[in-house]
Amino acid sequence: MLPVAFLHSFVGAFDFILHQREAVTGGGVQVGGPAYVWHFARTQLEVSAVALAGAMAVGLPAGLVLGHLGRGEFFAVGFGNAGRAVPEIAVIFLLAAIIGIGLGNVAIALGILGLPPILTNTFVAVRQVDRTAIEAAEGMGMRAAGVIARIELPLAAPTIMSGIRTAAINIFATATVASFVGLSTLGDLVTGRNVYGDDGVVAGAIAIALLAMCIELVLAGVQALVTPRGLKLQRARQGA
């Protein structure tokens, strides 16, 4: 019976996404339809993009410099591990209680959650760059900034991108609960059963899951693009 129940609930959910209907609460209020669902999805994508950009703007330079200098390993790695334990919804509520609600404030809370994986992966990736490549660059007269930008960053790019992927998925997933602090994300749909009904709840859940997978696929594509050809050849050789 379970597959039938699933199918039934999915059919209703897709109907909610595709067609407008009256709200469960009645009164002629129209809900559902592509534009309606997109409105919530767009807010969630926007706040996630702002948060990810902020986390990258802080985490990438910090990770690159600390990794280049080989300093602050305890901070950079410990921060990443500790970050995993922090319940994200508590951070959102706390920041909302302290600095108030709104897209900017939610983006700050989400950015804080995205920072650990980006910082840790960047630091570890730079530390793992082949020492001989760095020595060769220095031997050719390259300065610190050149070594970071032209040797360490490209060779560390795949691992850095996997940190950004983790951060992006976490941020997007958590942006759902931003609806509790007044931002109209897809969380409005999934927690609004009394207005949207089961169809709206499942429609919101499907939209969140599909968008998360799209983000994952797009960023996996970016990761493949930023991986230097030399690294791919090296890996292919090692695999063979």
Binding site: P87, A90, G204
Partner: protein, 251 residues
């Protein structure tokens, strides 16, 4: 009996006066009235006096995490052993567990909700699905890192495939397996704070009830972090007990 009924509302009234705007239950113990009423950053007195309200949800969340990680671990290890013997299974299994890892738990809760209803099941299914990929990937890496010499020695002693796996390969992979288990457990504690959305309770329930009282938010967050750290240390201890030979080599 009649006397009690007459006195009860008066008591509730007095309690409510300690913090306007807070629900009656929230200051039924006498605490620092000013801090609570002004929603200070952390009202330690209130936290101490009201600690009892956090005990039940704390252990409920521990239960959700323990059940989810136990199921995830059992499934992931079964997949590991299966795909260790039938190697072509590895890419599709990594793909499927990868999708389950990517689907946000919060979306998964609400996908299940109309079917499994509010309760523990609706929280545990997404959370254990989420841990699969982390544990499976680490266990595979652990088995792949077993030294060829150790395998050859086992073979030389006449071990069958099953004996080799049980007595050589799995014990040598324990550090990686536990490393995966630690990441899965710590992440699950954090995500399980959302289990209240699936109607399973836990610390998140207290957040939902009072989401702008800072002391409450910090208590919930702090207790969740404390749970994650305690479980992490417990697993680290388990790893040291399960791999006595590593300590011998180190000394």
């Amino acid at each position: 009996m009649i006397g009690l009924a007459v006195h009860a509302p008066a008591l509730a009234d007095a309690a409510n006066k300690c913090a306007p705007g807070l629900p009656a239950g929230f200051c039924h113990h006498h605490a620092e009235t000013g801090c609570v009423a002004g929603n200070g950053f952390f009202c330690a007195g209130w936290a101490v006096d009201n600690f009892d309200r956090y005990v039940g949800p704390f252990f409920r969340q521990l239960e959700i995490v323990a059940v989810s990680v136990a199921i995830g671990f059992a499934l992931a290890m079964a997949l590991t052993v299966l795909s260790h013997r039938y190697r072509p299974l590895i890419p599709p299994l990594l793909g499927v567990t990868g999708v389950l890892y990517t689907v946000p738990s919060i979306a998964f809760f609400f996908l299940l909700l109309p079917i499994t209803g509010f309760g523990l099941d609706t929280a545990v299914i997404p959370l254990s699905a989420y841990t699969l990929q982390i544990i499976y990937r680490n266990a595979l890496a652990g088995l792949a890192n077993v030294p060829v010499d150790a395998r050859d020695a086992g073979r030389g002693m006449g071990m069958t495939d099953g004996e080799l796996l049980r007595r050589v390969e799995l014990p040598l992979a324990v550090p990686e397996i536990i490393a995966g288990l630690r990441i899965a457990t710590v992440s699950t504690v954090a995500v399980a704070t959302l289990a209240f959305l699936a109607g399973a309770g836990g610390l998140g329930q207290l957040l939902a009830e009072q989401n702008d009282f800072k002391t409450n938010i910090i208590m919930v967050g702090g207790l969740a972090i404390a749970m994650a750290v305690a479980l992490d240390l417990l697993l680290l201890l388990a790893q040291r007990l399960a791999t006595p030979w590593r300590r011998v080599r180190a000394s």
